[in-house]
Symmetry: D2
């Protein structure tokens, strides 16, 4: 009898998820002759037993497509799941036991969990409860997982942001304005700093460096003093001015995350209140996490998908596919869960930014 593996995608979607699904399916089918079961909407589909048979034919054209053909779901926490009662009320239940049962019924040789820290932590809990044949593929737009140099979707987000910054440049220059662009990054400033560097920004504000608004304004004055009459500011959504004004958020616990928002808008108001500069603020929002992946992410997704199947074939359960120092490796799943990878305010990337005159605000 032929073997069978499963795959699910959890958490927010991002470009490259379909590439992971495609590569894992092709590799499992082509190289090992395994069946591949796609589980719909993250752990929700495991609870509801919504499956789809994955074949070379139905994954054939997935590589350039954004999103995930399996769907994802923000409700898909198997340990706190919104169960709809017959009377229409919704109660939060721990449905992990039934999920485990369903996993046993599927009789999987291995389960590939593609997701960020939340989804990974659910996978880790399943392992602890006895369903040990889990491997992972780390995924987050924010690139803030300690386990890996790059996560799938990050580079596409950077390309999208840089494209937007480039469009703002010409307007800023033609109209002598300060243009603020707010980008994703609640706890980590990777998108902001990388796209600020690549986009030719003049000020970049990230969560890792509490910024002094006066330093930001001084940077504008300094540029104007040299005869340049416009500036581009990239602000991560989690960037905070010194002394706060933003409430605390709890990393890794999505139920405790409040909507941040407004980091760019608040800075715009501060600048307009304290200077004579004309300011415009843009929030890029969800276009950063949707759409077709760039070639870098298509390649990375393919390599991660193949690696995940290799981890199963090698019996390295409890590991995630990761890029470490440029090389593809397997790393313990809890390493991907426990620690955020933050921008080092004194590291090479921050020094490079400061080296070319980018103001980091602190």
């Amino acid at each position: 009898m032929s073997k069978r593996i499963g795959i699910l995608t959890g958490g927010g979607d991002c470009p490259g998820l379909n590439g992971v699904i495609r590569a894992a399916t092709l590799h499992a089918r082509t190289t090992y002759g395994w069946e591949v079961v796609g589980i719909r909407n993250g752990f929700e589909g495991l609870y509801e037993e919504e499956y789809i048979d994955l074949t070379p034919s139905n994954v054939a054209s997935l590589l350039p497509r954004g999103g995930t053909m399996l769907g994802s779901s923000n409700r898909a926490n198997p340990f706190a799941y919104p169960v709809k009662l017959p009377d229409g009320r919704v109660e939060i239940h721990d449905v992990s036991a039934r999920c485990l049962d369903n996993l046993h019924k599927l009789d999987l040789t291995g389960l590939i969990v593609v997701g960020g820290d939340g989804t990974m932590s659910f996978g880790q809990k399943f392992i602890e409860r006895g369903m040990t044949r889990v491997v992972g593929v780390p995924k987050t737009i924010d690139n803030d997982l300690e386990a890996t140099d790059y996560t799938v979707g990050f580079q596409t987000a950077v390309e999208v942001v840089v494209d937007a910054i480039e469009r703002l440049h010409t307007t800023a220059e033609s109209h002598e304005r300060i243009m603020i662009i707010e980008v994703m990054g609640r706890y980590a400033g990777w998108i902001a700093l990388t796209s600020g560097l690549a986009g030719g920004a003049h000020v970049v504000l990230i969560p890792e460096i509490e910024y002094d608004p006066e330093r930001v304004i001084a940077a504008f004055h300094h540029r104007h003093g040299r005869g340049v009459s416009y500036s581009i500011v990239v602000v991560a959504e989690g960037a905070r001015p010194k002394g706060g004004g933003y409430s605390v958020v709890t990393p890794g616990d999505p139920t405790k995350q409040e909507k941040l928002g407004g980091a760019g808008q608040r800075l715009a108001e501060y600048i307009e209140a304290n200077t004579e500069y004309e300011v415009r603020s843009t929030v890029l929002g969800h276009i950063q996490r949707g759409g077709s992946p760039c070639a870098f992410d298509r390649e990375l997704a393919t390599r991660f998908g193949v690696k995940a199947v290799e981890l199963i074939a090698d019996g390295k359960f409890g590991h995630v596919a990761a890029m470490e120092n440029g090389h593809l490796v397997g790393k313990p799943i809890d390493k991907a869960v426990k620690k955020l990878k933050l921008v080092d305010p004194k590291g090479e990337l921050a020094r490079t930014a400061r080296g070319i005159g980018i103001e980091l605000g602190g």
Copy 2:
């Protein structure tokens, strides 16, 4: 002695302005041997006498660049100009007489005014005061000038919006959400309707059709009833629900325009308050009007730039270059000023949208 023409760009920048400048310069220089004087920052540069000599060499690489190399200025109303007094105070003066003087000093064979309705109306007033050798190139992202089928910059805005919509599609689908995207269009829905058609939107709301929020929600229910669990909504910034809620704005008088904003956000709040759908709202903002023009606008800008010079050569002053029924023509400048071109709620474009099931809200 060689002849000389002038060129200035006014109002908000948009992709293609540089293409107009380049083509007019090349044509005037190459074909007629005329000098070309670039006037900086719209009519501000005429008042301040800030000029730049335009040559084939300094316009050579302009075609792919967004913005305007001449700069633009929102203060550049020569009939209500903010003059800085020696004591630091700023007073609003009519400086048109000095502008006229400076024009006479330049001794121009013709002046090309590139701009929207505001800038065009200043050009028209100069004509009425005796500086008759003015021709125009219509320019507005919004494509809402009666004089011409297409304005420079419009198609690029549509391409940018469609690209963004495509990125939202995959997230909407993966997460079963309603995604709202607010686009430019204060009085006219050309950007919203065209990019809604080209982007595969399900609901498009435009200023020309006051929308019934209940019809919008009914469209979502209808889709969901057919098993489709996400929708894309394109909202023009000037779209209004029936019964209003938006204050009145005065077309053509930029000093009287208040910041609209919030059309998308308010609809999002309404839907979330009245349904169980998950909604996300994005405001594209200035990335619609910046950056490199698409090929269509590069071609159009080139043809308009050449046509403007032809109008001067033919002595057809007081005319603008325009595209009428697909053909390049000259039309009286006041036609470009007096009347907005609005989407006909019963015209072919709106019927096409309804024909494929797009809900227009009214």
Copy 3:
């Protein structure tokens, strides 16, 4: 009983075909409640009775996709069809009678034929033989149909070519080279001239103007004399030097078309043999006709698809959807077949090119 229409795509694929299929399906289903039968691989699927049921669900995500979900086929001439005999030999038969039989079996209210001049002429012949309920959507990368201002796919080809030209500019400039780019256009120079204008080319050679190679070289010398040391040349595949050297091809009869090719390469060899300039030649080939359509073509495809259904609903058989002077109209199908639309060597587009100093070679 519900009515039923059919749709097929013939000839070379191009961006936007899927948009026509989608819009026609949505409009027929949503507005009229008609069934829609997709016929596979052009007239081949009509002979082989290969059909697919088209529904809002299976056309939902077609708009951004290149190619045609129905397939196309170069063998699909129903009047000269390669029939495979039982002994393996292939004979050319007239299978139009069987195609007509199959059409009658389908009992269609109308048949939408999407194609270029070849496919349209087949449609016209079916009409002449009694299957009168045919309407058409003109399609050709080359934009060379007299019936319509724009054909679906043309603008995307131009955007792709302009993107490529822009990439060549920087190399040409950095290395002081002459870069030649050969683009599609066997009989008509619309792609070459439009993308040459929009891409900032210095020489554009089109089939409508036999070029004098010495004029081309003189243009390089003229630029170099002014201190500019590189040039970009766009050559349509059908461009011919004066006095010929290219064999004759027969428009409209695909069986008589020989591979042209080499227009760019031959010019490169001529320049290298007669000057000291360093020359590089690139043939863009099929990337001009594949891939995702630009927003302009997505809109046009949608409008054409809706219009085709309207032509059926209005009983205007024997007509094609067309854009005439900027307006969507229906025109007799034989107008789309009989006459090529060529670039007028003295028309506005050519004059614009010459006006900014582009050498057209003749």
Copy 4:
């Protein structure tokens, strides 16, 4: 007296060179207060003493621009330089002594040489002759330098190729064809293999693996046996069939390199001669190395430019900026010269390709 550094770019241009120039200039000026001298056209400008003063102002908008503002030159070998004699003849001279003199006259604190193996080897020779204050930034589209994980320009080439492959997919599928795309890569298959992975190719042929044409054809048969009727083939220009047919080329010695070309065309002819498949072949050519860099290369170029200045500030002459295992380091210049980095036929990337069913031909 303020210090001064120099910078030159040599060899073929590629996206990102301007980013290196910009970052080095900004860092040297902003952080150290050094003057920056740009040397035109590689070592040619050193011989001819063609310099340009680089300032924050004239490098401000360089980041998105392809090519190199300093120019490059294929004739710029200072050890075999084509000197034009008064009588018009051209003789090849060793002009390195005069270049060294000119370097001494410039009195540079350090010279940044941006280039590939050829340019780097000239830099190394200058060091050996006493001008020791040289540092380097490795640059090659092909990513085949042992010294560094990534070279500037490579990722942009991959993005361009993947974009082209995506356009070919839809045509191949619509017409049931085999599409061959020939890409850069004379000795190393990095562009072909990476873009084949990211572009969803079915066959990838690289210089490191002599291919068996019969295996390639067998791969087509295998796909067709499974009902898939089209295939995408990526061929590096240096790919060779088993048993040869291609003449020998000498890595690192540009004077001995013959035009390869034809790798794709020859494979196309072989397939057409030996099967019934319809085949189309495209050569991407120079569009792979021109145009605006992707965000990845803009970031990398910026980091390399800053690092090069750091190498000078730290007195680490004779080193190049390099990315090693994901970290920015300095490495001895001769490491960048002596050894090509080739694709390991049994390494992770090749195994990933084979793992998802890509035929590598051997």
